[in-house]
């Protein structure tokens, strides 16, 4: 096990942990989006979908625990990586530093975008997930999501959701490709393929998520 801790604590190991957890989260995004799209199929379909999910309770719980662990790992690792890197930069920073000339904005703000995503996550869990758990009996999930309490009918939530999706896209603009660079498979013959898939993840998926508050809040909710 010694090698394992050495690996986890090395700079490259930390990177690989970042990439692994990040990509697993991306995978989760796909599944999550798949569920959300049921909203467009109407109240019955969506409610039925959530019911079905709930009936697989033990499995869902296991997945939730794993997911939580991945998040915790991603965040904890991000934190120690960011802190360690800040320490490496030394005490005095440049008076003049033209960062924008040499690197992309998204790559420099992973900590910031990630942290706001974290806040979003807490709010999101507290509102939707928690409400789902406690109001489970009623089976009115669609109403919760589109309603004006904690749902997209509430302009504050809708706008916050939109911002979060924008930041998610931004996070993944750098993150997705970066993960493959970390695994060392970005510059070989798969490079072009990865670039194409990256667009799905940083643009299409967050954008599709974003259509939901737009549709249910701005268009249908009519605020």
């Amino acid at each position: 096990m010694n090698w394992f801790f050495q690996f986890m604590n090395s700079s490259v190991g930390k990177k690989i942990t970042m990439a692994t957890t990040g990509l697993l989260l991306c995978l989760y995004l796909v599944i999550h989006l798949f569920g959300n799209l049921f909203l467009y199929a109407g109240p019955e379909a969506f409610n039925l979908y959530v019911e079905r999910l709930s009936s697989l309770k033990p499995l869902v719980r296991v997945i939730e625990v794993i997911l939580t662990l991945i998040f915790v790992f991603h965040i904890w690792n991000a934190l120690r990586l960011t802190l360690a890197n800040r320490r490496s930069s030394g005490e005095i920073s440049y008076t003049e530093y033209q960062a924008h000339e040499v690197s992309a904005l998204s790559s420099r703000f992973m900590g910031v975008t990630g942290s706001i995503l974290f806040i979003f996550l807490v709010v999101h869990l507290q509102t939707i997930w928690y409400t789902f758990q406690t109001h489970h009996q009623e089976g009115q999930f669609y109403a919760v999501v589109t309603g004006n309490q904690v749902g997209f009918g509430n302009p504050v939530y809708a706008v916050f959701y939109l911002i979060a999706m924008f930041l998610l896209g931004f996070h993944l603009k750098h993150g997705f490709q970066s993960a493959f660079q970390t695994f060392g498979i970005r510059y070989n013959k798969y490079g072009k393929l990865i670039e194409a898939i990256a667009v799905i993840f940083w643009l299409i998926i967050p954008a599709t998520f974003a259509t939901i508050p737009i549709y249910f809040g701005f268009l249908k909710g009519g605020f």
Partner: protein, 247 residues
Amino acid sequence: MKVTLKVWRQKNGSTPGQFVSYEVDQVSEDMSFFEMLDMLNNSLVRKGEEPISFDHDCREGICGTCGLMINGRAHGPLKGVTTCQLHMRSFSDGDTIVVEPWRARAFPVIRDLIVDRTAFDRIMEAGGYISVRTGGAPDANAIPISKKAADAAFDSAACIGCGACVATCKNSSAMLFTAAKVSQFAVLPQGQVERKERVLNMVAQMDAEGFGACTNTGACEAECPKEISLVNIARLNREFLRASLAG
């Protein structure tokens, strides 16, 4: 032309430093940046002041000794050149030019614009070699090496160890430097025997020196005077993963 320099002055590693402004007149376009500094220094010497210390030697972009942060860019505004290759025609009359040393925890300031980069040597010591004894080598043409591999090895080996990659990186990561050496040997048949230990030991030393972890921002590649590519970092990651997982 006339320029104003804002230069970091620091007596030694244990005293704090500060910026000092200098006006330099009669600068010609054909002068190199260093010749402009030489001229300023000579005028300081004449006045009995201490000249500005900066590292340089070959002045043709190969020894890797020079390296200044000029207006927030490592080695100045141009791509693919070292500080010593920078000429004053890249600036205009009346410019204010901010000159700072490389900043990173692993590169402590020795004086003014000079930093200590011996951490790079220690990374090399940890594995930047192929263990051959002098005299015991087989004929040079005994193992054919594809032109592609030889060229790739050369591209990696072109690193001059200047430290611009560290200087420009927001994480002060030495990944590009380390990766270039790991890559050079990873693509050559001669490097295979020690391949695993090499990458593990060099990365461990890089971490121990206090360099940060790479977050793939790509600033190093953009500022590297020898245009060492990020492919090297990808390869280092792969080598590291492989070496860590394989037994």
